[in-house]
Symmetry: C2
Subunit: 619 residues, 2 copies
């Protein structure tokens, strides 16, 4: 009891006139409302069952928008609904979230109620459009380990979502601007209307037993009316009468009641619902005359576990390098770099070597060969492992002299006398691996908050020999530095790419995007691997876990990676006009990113920075 | 990076033979499964859509039991399924929980899948029964602010529950043993079967448009067959033929397809499903030959805010003391004590005084008058407030000399020189309030962990004058002491009553059971009052928030209060046989309760203590 006020009523009493005892009309102290006599005001909802088609949805639920960097939890508190204003270049995706929370329950079982989310196309005054379903997509934000993360697609033309009592739900809205989109101001609306839950409108349709009863009556009636030789007019009259009676009995079934009442016109039309009772979220998007490059300026490569996919979907391992799809995928301009499929040749059989040689020979004749690299060993720790890299490298370079090899590391080799200190040994790694590595890929964890150490790393590289410095994150660095673990802030996820741009690396590697536990069924529950921080190595999920769709389900973290890479394109544009120093100054002065432990905690600075690039770089 | 191992692959490498590089078959370091190659084994589920009626539910979901004191969160990890063994006296309620978590998803949209929970009656070998729906009830555990708390009734004969991907759900099972139940061992089973979601089997019933088509065809057919004067036999034949054609067209509707196929026998029978594919949870209950008293030994009183109910349900305030229902409720043997409805008479109009006098005169002639008390002022703080209590008391005692007055307090009056120290001033309160208070009700917060202070409080009381010592909890004491806030351990909730029994108070008061924020609609969201710990003052919820039911929804905390009060009956029985010292020793030696900061954290000791009472006290 920090406050020294063990009872609410006593505390409440402070705000009351002292002569009125703090008991309600009836004995039982402290049950009066106390500080806040707020809550819902008297309304027209009445005391009976709530028909959501007859009441404005704003009386039934809270609707408000949240930025893409917000983790909208089930306990997120409502905010006022405001007009959403976004900025996007061509070939950019910009996202935001709609948060929904029931004020009352209007469903009759289990849930608070269902809402329908309907989105219009976004139109410019010139008549150009961003079309719903293509350029505008909606996804439900589904929690993983209680943290909002999985983005499960929903039909943007007609999406019904169930809200639970006392829980905030979120919808992820993405605007994907095509490369050829005309710049301009695009406007649209999203209608959110409380509706009867599907399970309830089911009450209007026939139950199984009613259906079977109908079936029997119909068969019976057919027997009565079936063409045959009639013995008499009387028989025919009797049959007609009998059929008529049976038919009237069928029509009296409760299920046909509303057909009689509303003459089949159905409930109020969708249009009317949207105009009369829906909450309307107005949405404006400024598309500007900058086009993000088709190929990202920063090659960011992400590991995909083939084993995980093969096991879960019962697939066989291995595709030849000359498979037609291989050429299509490697040539895709959106792919900036790829690791050559590579089976370890340590066993050094001639067959293995020949196979690798053939693979290289096929690939090196292709234009996409310049994107390729070999990733031979993850984080070598000792000279024995370094020797393996050198030996494979010699083999590979005999197949193609311009082969690129990437090596990840966070320390120098143990067992060598490379340098007197740990950091110096780490910095001197290029001396050991040259010419057997071209992409020196170091862990951000090594730097910690010491951005100044970057210059020591870069000083050891030979750009004239094609050497590059890339970085990576995985288990480390941990909070508060940028990384992609579940439970970190949204800006912390996005900041990984701000960090890369500020530090000046020319590429980035992430170890895994689908590295959850083994399972043999497509829809098996996703279990994160033990020993890893939650979400580490998992950036998307199998669609089958969430619906009958086979489309993979992205995480909010994957979307924030994309946003971070798009931020790099904005910063690169700005720097191309005003110089890198000015670009760095923009990042700092807007408060977006000052260092690994000093960056925007909320979304505001991001929009300020992007707006400034727009203002200073357009036409 | 505490471990100095920034990358999972590097860590995994420790467990591998050193000469095999830690890359998967394909480049991209560290994506192999690492430490655990566990997960689901290959199974017969195959790669396509899952039909839950054809696969054993144990392949589709985890089912395990949890004690009533467990807070089963959405992240609760599965445990092995074990036989549930419970012990209960007659007139006792004993509860446990069934936790459910999907292993795979078998629904096609939004949820992982639906399960049906079916419970048999519990039967003894002598043929006695505990009947499902009456003595056996099922409730869904619904989170409030993310903490499992609300217990929403479900139909025990046929309950369908939706499971979400990656989330554990819980069902609260209560066994209510009637007073007249024969002692013995009762056995039953609970069948948990994965089923098609209701929304999916809906496909089998008629859509609205099909239904309207049927309606029109039926009307058409009635027009054709309706009795009239027919001009000729030909007309009748034509009409019969036309009717027959129309009827055949109706029968051809897709909705009647399965009626033809399975001849109306429907899907596999429930019995078969239960026997073939359901997970079976075996349940044994030992009913022993002890009957809990109808009237609880410890009068525990709980405030109910009438204002909250009146506002939410649009009710008018006030019921006369001579209302027939008043007598029924006050006379209910399950009610141990009640506060007399009391409008403050400070304004002291004659009308108010006369009304109060009439109320007392009506009540004091009833047998239930002995249960009554007046609660005049909540936590008086100064002599002015003490004077008000005395003055009202004088008025009341002029109406009925045996009136009982309860006063809550956590300190002595300020502005008096009662005693040199704060605690002594608190202890001396009876000297100030005698004879204007009979029930001295003190906050447990005052004691803190100093149980020894109890004797100082009790020493000041005059049992010969009918004076009693009761206690209460509200905002305080806070964690780790026992209280009923959301987010505390289940044993912490139950320990409030263990504490009462150990300290020896003869009654208990809780300030509020429905003191959430104001709302004017029955199904309005429950908002806890600002400034209070979550759950404080709220022990049940309006049913309308969770379903169309008007039945109030209990919290897990309310159930644990009941369990604690039942524990008191066990301890009282034991003490009546072996003495209070032995009862206290039992509480300690089983590890159930040693003090306000030392009590069972898990359920085990509770069953040990109850089992010991059963073993030593039966027959």
């Amino acid at each position: 009891m920090e406050s020294g006020q063990p009872n609410s009523a006593a505390a409440a009493d402070k705000t009351q006139n002292s002569s009125v005892p703090p008991v309600e009309g009836v004995a039982g102290g402290g049950t009066s409302y106390g500080w806040v006599d707020g809550g819902l005001q008297a309304s027209s909802l009445g005391n009976g069952a709530i028909d959501p088609t007859k009441i404005h949805s704003a009386d039934l639920l809270h609707v408000w928008s949240m930025p893409s960097t917000a983790n909208v939890s089930q306990q997120e508190a409502p905010r006022p609904l405001e007009h959403v204003n976004l900025l996007a270049a061509r070939n950019e995706r910009e996202s935001f979230q709609i948060a929904l929370r029931p004020k009352v329950s209007w469903a009759t079982s289990g849930i608070a109620g269902s809402v329908q989310v309907q989105c219009t196309d976004l139109c410019s005054s010139a008549g150009d459009r961003l079309v719903v379903g293509q350029s505008v997509t909606l996804r439900r934000v589904v929690p993983m380990l209680g943290v909002p993360d999985a983005l499960v697609p929903i039909d943007p033309l007609n999406s019904q979502i169930n809200l639970l009592p006392g829980e905030t739900s979120a919808i992820w809205v993405s605007l994907n601007v095509p490369c050829g989109q005309q710049p301009g101001l695009y406007e649209g609306e999203i209608f959110i209307s409380a509706v009867r839950a599907e399970a309830e409108s089911r009450g209007e349709s026939l139950t199984k037993s009613e259906r079977y009863q109908l079936y029997k009556e119909l068969r019976n009636c057919i027997d009565i009316t079936e063409p045959r030789d009639y013995s008499s007019s009387e028989e025919m009259v009797q049959r007609l009468t009998s059929a008529s009676t049976t038919l009237r009995r069928m029509l009296a079934l409760p299920s046909f009641q509303d057909c009689q009442e509303n003459n089949g016109l159905g409930d109020m039309m969708d249009e009317d619902i949207m105009n009369n009772v829906a909450v309307r979220l107005k949405l404006s998007l400024t598309v500007w005359d900058f086009t993000l490059p088709l190929t990202p300026s920063l090659p960011a490569v992400f590991g995909i576990s083939e084993t995980v996919i093969e096991d879960r979907f019962c697939l066989e391992h291995g595709t030849k390098a000359d498979h037609p799809k291989a050429k299509e995928y490697y040539s895709d301009p959106r792919l900036a770099a790829y690791a050559v499929p590579y089976a370890p040749i340590l066993s050094s059989t001639d067959a293995a070597k020949n196979s690798l040689r053939r693979e290289v020979e096929i690939l090196k004749s292709e234009a996409h060969w310049s994107k390729s690299y070999f990733y031979l060993w993850d984080e070598p720790l000792n000279m024995e492992q370094y020797d393996v890299i050198c030996s494979i490298s010699n083999e590979l370079r005999s197949y193609a002299s311009d082969v690129r090899i990437l090596t990840t590391y966070y320390c120098g080799p143990s067992g060598s006398e490379l340098a007197p200190s740990t950091f110096e040994a780490f910095v001197k790694v290029p001396n050991v691996l040259r010419p057997h590595t071209q992409i020196f890929c170091t862990s951000e964890w090594v730097l910690g908050t010491r951005e100044d150490l970057v210059k020591d790393i870069v000083a050891e590289l030979r750009p004239d020999l094609g050497e590059e410095w890339w970085t990576y994150v995985c288990m480390g660095p941990s909070d508060p530095q940028p990384n992609w673990h579940l439970g970190m802030r949204g800006t912390q996820h996005r900041a990984v790419m701000w960090r890369v741009w500020k530090e000046g690396g020319t590429g980035f590697l992430y170890w895994g995007t689908n590295c959850y536990e083994k399972a043999m069924i497509p829809s098996a529950e996703i279990c994160f691997r033990r020993g890893l921080p939650p979400g580490d190595g998992v950036l998307f999920y199998p669609g089958e876990v969430f619906s009958s769709s086979h489309e993979p389900v992205a995480s909010t973290r994957l979307e924030r990676i994309l946003s971070g890479m798009q931020d790099i394109e904005y910063l690169k544009l700005y720097s191309s006009r005003y110089g890198r120093e000015e670009g760095l100054a923009l990042l700092e002065k807007t408060g977006v990113y000052l260092g690994p432990d000093r960056y925007a905690l909320d979304h505001g600075p991001i929009d300020v920075m992007r707006g400034e690039v727009y203002r200073t770089c357009r036409s």
